[in-house]
C-alpha cells in the first residue's frame, strides 16, 4: 500500500504539464549556456547546474518543506490529517518527500548534468554534499514548520529561516571546504575534509528527519518520552567536543572536554527551545495536573523540553566543575568553560525565567519578541553603553565578567537568576497557580 500522504503530494505536485515543463526549461537554460560557451562548455555547464540545483532543490525545495504542514493548517486540512490513521513515520516521510518531489525532480536533472560535465575529480563528493545539504535543510525546514504549526503560526516562514541558515552557516563552510585542502582534526584523528563534510551533513540530515518524526509524533498524539532529544544533545556534545580533542589527550582530559562540550551544547539548546516550544503557561499547568494525579510518565511525555535541557546543563555544570578541580585544561574550549560554567548556567536560568515572566501574563502576547528584546538589552545594549561611558563596575553588574572574575560573576548572575525566578513565580501564582477548588 503506497504511503497515502506521498500519493496525495504526487497528485498535487507531478502533473503531466509540470513533468514536461521542468526538463524543457532546464534544457533551454543548458542549451543557452552551451551556445554561449561552445569552445569549452563543460565547466560553465557544471557551474550552472550546481547553481540551479541550489536554487531549485535547496532554496525552493526547502521553502516547500517548511510550508508542508503550515499550508495545511492555513488551508484547514491539518485536523483531517491528524485524525487520519497514517502513522508518524509515513506522515513525516510522505510530507518530506512529497512536498519536495518536484524540486527533487528538477534537482536530480541538474545533478546529472553536473556529474556529466564537471571536470573536477571531486565532483561526486560535491554532488553528495549538495544532496545531503539539501536533505538536511529540507528536514530542518519541516521541523520548523511542524514546531510553528504547534504554536499556531499559519504564515509561511520556517523554510525561509532554514535558507537563511544555509547562507549564514553552510555557505562559509562550503567556501572553506573549496579553498582548504587541509584535513579536519576530530576526535584525535585526521579526516579528509570533503569526506568529513559529507558525513557530517548526512548524519545531521538523518537527525533532522528523526527530529521531524518525533515532532510529528507529538502532533499526531503519539506518546513519546524525551529520550531522543537527550540522545541528540549528547551526540551533538560529542560532535562539538571532537574538535577540541587531540590524539595525545589522556582519557580524563577527553572526559572533561566532553563534559564541557555537553554543558555548552545543552545551555545553547535552551534558547531555541524557549522560542520554539509550546511551553507556557498551559503546558506547565498540564504537567502539574499530571503530577498531582500521580501520572509521572505522562507528565514527562507532555513536559516542554527546555526545563529538561536546563537540568541537563546543570548536571554538566556540576560535572565540569567537579572534574576541573581547579586545574587549567589544555583544550581551549574546556579552558574557557572551566572558568565560568556556573554563571553561564545561572544566566540561562535567569533568561528562562524572563521568558516565563512574559509567558505567565494573564493574556500572554508577543512573548518571544519581548523576551528576545530583553536579552538584547541585557547582553548587548546596556553593557555596551555603560562600558562606553567607562562605568565598568556598573556594566559588570548587568553582564557579569565570566572570564575575569568568576567568583564575582557567580554572585551577580545568582542575584539576576534569583530576581527573575522570583518574579516569574510571583506572576505564575497570581495568574496560573492550581488552587484547591
Amino acid at each position: 500500500m503506497m504511503n497515502p500522504e506521498l500519493r496525495r503530494n504526487l497528485w498535487l505536485e507531478l502533473s503531466l504539464h509540470r513533468l514536461i515543463a521542468m526538463p524543457g526549461v532546464l534544457a533551454l537554460v543548458f542549451g543557452l549556456i552551451y551556445a554561449l560557451n561552445r569552445d569549452a562548455p563543460a565547466e560553465p555547464l557544471a557551474s550552472a547546474s550546481a547553481m540551479l540545483f541550489v536554487a531549485i532543490c535547496i532554496v525552493w525545495g526547502t521553502l516547500h518543506a517548511g510550508d508542508a504542514v503550515i499550508a495545511e493548517v492555513r488551508g484547514r486540512t491539518w485536523d483531517g490529517q491528524r485524525m487520519s490513521a497514517v502513522d508518524p513515520w509515513p506522515m513525516t516521510l510522505g510530507k518530506l518527500a512529497g512536498a519536495t518531489v518536484f524540486a527533487w525532480y528538477g534537482g536530480i536533472l541538474c545533478m546529472l548534468v553536473f556529474l556529466a560535465c564537471s571536470p573536477e575529480i571531486s565532483a561526486p563528493q560535491i554532488a553528495g554534499m549538495l544532496v545531503a545539504g539539501a536533505l538536511l535543510l529540507q528536514a530542518l525546514a519541516l521541523v520548523g514548520g511542524i514546531a510553528a504549526a504547534r504554536k499556531g503560526v499559519v504564515r509561511s516562514g520556517p523554510g525561509g529561516w532554514a535558507v537563511a541558515v544555509l547562507f549564514l552557516v553552510g555557505g562559509p563552510s562550503v567556501a572553506a571546504l573549496s579553498g582548504n585542502e587541509e584535513p579536519v582534526l576530530w576526535w584525535g584523528r585526521e579526516w579528509a575534509r570533503a569526506d568529513f563534510m559529507f558525513c557530517t551533513l548526512a548524519v545531521f540530515a538523518a537527525w533532522a528527519v528523526f527530529g521531524a518524526h518525533r515532532l510529528m509524533c507529538q502532533e499526531l498524539q503519539v506518546r513519546t518520552l524525551p529520550w531522543a532529544w537527550i540522545a541528540f544533545l549528547l551526540f551533538l556534545a560529542g560532535f562539538v567536543s571532537g574538535f577540541a580533542i587531540r590524539a595525545s589527550d589522556a582519557w580524563s582530559q577527553v572526559r572533561n572536554v566532553h563534559f564541557a562540550g555537553a554543558l555548552v551544547v545543552s545551555l545553547a539548546a535552551v534558547y531555541p527551545l524557549l522560542l520554539a516550544e509550546v511551553s507556557a503557561p498551559m503546558a506547565l499547568r498540564r504537567v502539574l495536573f499530571r503530577l498531582r494525579t500521580g501520572e509521572r510518565r505522562r507528565a514527562l511525555e507532555e513536559a516542554p523540553l527546555w526545563p529538561l535541557t536546563l537540568a541537563l546543563a546543570a548536571l554538566f555544570t556540576l560535572l565540569t566543575m567537579l572534574v576541573a578541580g581547579g586545574r587549567r585544561a589544555e583544550g581551549e574550549l574546556f579552558a574557557a568553560v572551566q572558568l565560568a560554567p556556573l554563571p553561564l548556567l545561572l544566566l540561562a536560568v535567569r533568561d528562562a525565567a524572563i521568558f516565563m515572566w512574559f509567558s505567565f501574563a494573564a493574556q500572554p502576547r508577543r512573548v518571544e519578541a519581548s523576551a528576545v528584546l530583553y536579552m538584547v538589552v541585557l547582553y548587548g545594549l546596556v553593557p555596551a553603553i555603560l562600558r562606553a561611558m567607562d562605568a565598568r563596575a556598573l556594566a559588570d553588574l548587568v553582564l557579569p565578567p565570566f572570564w575575569d572574575r568568576p567568583g564575582y560573576a557567580v554572585a551577580v548572575a545568582g542575584v539576576h537568576a534569583l530576581l527573575a525566578v522570583a518574579a516569574a513565580v510571583w506572576r505564575w501564582k497570581r495568574n496560573y497557580a492550581i488552587r484547591a477548588e
Binding site: P4, R8, R76, T77, Q81, M83, S84, A85, Q221
Partner: protein, 312 residues
Amino acid sequence: MPHPHPAAVVASGVLFEYPGVRALDEVSFEVPAGSVTALVGPNGAGKTTLLRCLAGLERPMLGSIHVAGVDVLEEPRAVHRRVGFLSDFFGLYDALSVARCFAHAAAAHGVADADIDGAVQRTAQRMGLAGLLERRAAELSRGQRQRVAIGQALIHAPQVLMLDEPASGLDPEARHALARLFTQLREEGITLIVSSHILAELDEYSTHMLVMRHGRIVENRALEGAVAGLARVRLAFAQAVEALEAKLAALPGVRVLRAEADAAVLELHGGAEAQAALLRALVQAGLPLSEFALERENLHESYLRTVGAAPS
C-alpha cells in the same frame, strides 16, 4: 431504567483550559450508541473544545474519555480509525478532484487499496456527489464542499461521527438533505454528535440533547419521543369534562402531565397499539374527544427550559 444501548462515548471528569479560561470544567457524560446527540449551548460554552477532545485532537488536562470502547488518551490513533470528525472550519484540497479527495481520505483512514474505489463510489452516491467526482474541490459550491467534507469523515465507516456546526452556511434545501442523511446514518447504527446553533435543524433528527454552559454539562437526556415506547399525546375535547384529570388518570398505561377542563397532555407507554387502545378507551368512556395528537417537545423549547433552569 437501564439504557437499552451501551454508551458509544463515556467522558469522566474532563478538564481543559486555555489561558485564563477553563473551557471544560470536569465534564462527565455518556452518549448512547446509535443515538444522535445534539450538542447545544451558547458561544464559548466549550462545545468545540469538547468535540476536539472526544476526537483525540486535543488532550485534556484531567479526566478520561472512551469512544467506541477505546481510551482516547491512551490510544488516540486507534480512536481515529473508529471516529469521523468534521470541524466547523474545515478545508479541502482544492486542487484535487472530488474522487481523489475521497480516495485520499479512505487511504489515510486505513481503507485497503482494493476497497478504495468501492468506498469512493459508495460515499459519492450517499452524498449525492456521483456526478461531480471529476470536478476539482475548488470549483464546488459551499453545500457541495460541505458534502465532500462529510463524505471524507464518513468514508471509513466510523462508529461515531462528530460534526461541529455542519449546517452553517447551507441553504434550506441542503440543510434538509443533511438532516435526511443524519437520520439515515442513525438508522445504520452510527452514533452522531452534532453541535449546532440552529436548533430547529437539530430537532429534525436528534434523539438526545447535551446542553453545555460555561464549560459544564447542564443537561444530558433523551428527547421525549426518543425513548422507546414513550409518547406524549395532546387531547382536546368539544366541551368541558367534569373531573377530567381523574378520568384520564384511571386509564391504563397513562400519566397525566397537564389537564384543564377541555384539554390535556398525557404521557403514554407503549407504541402505536397503545395509542389505538387509548383512543378506543376515550371514545368508549363517552368523552367528547375532538383532537388526538402526538406531541413532541420542541428542541428549542426544551433547550430554553433547560438553560432557564440552570444557574447562570
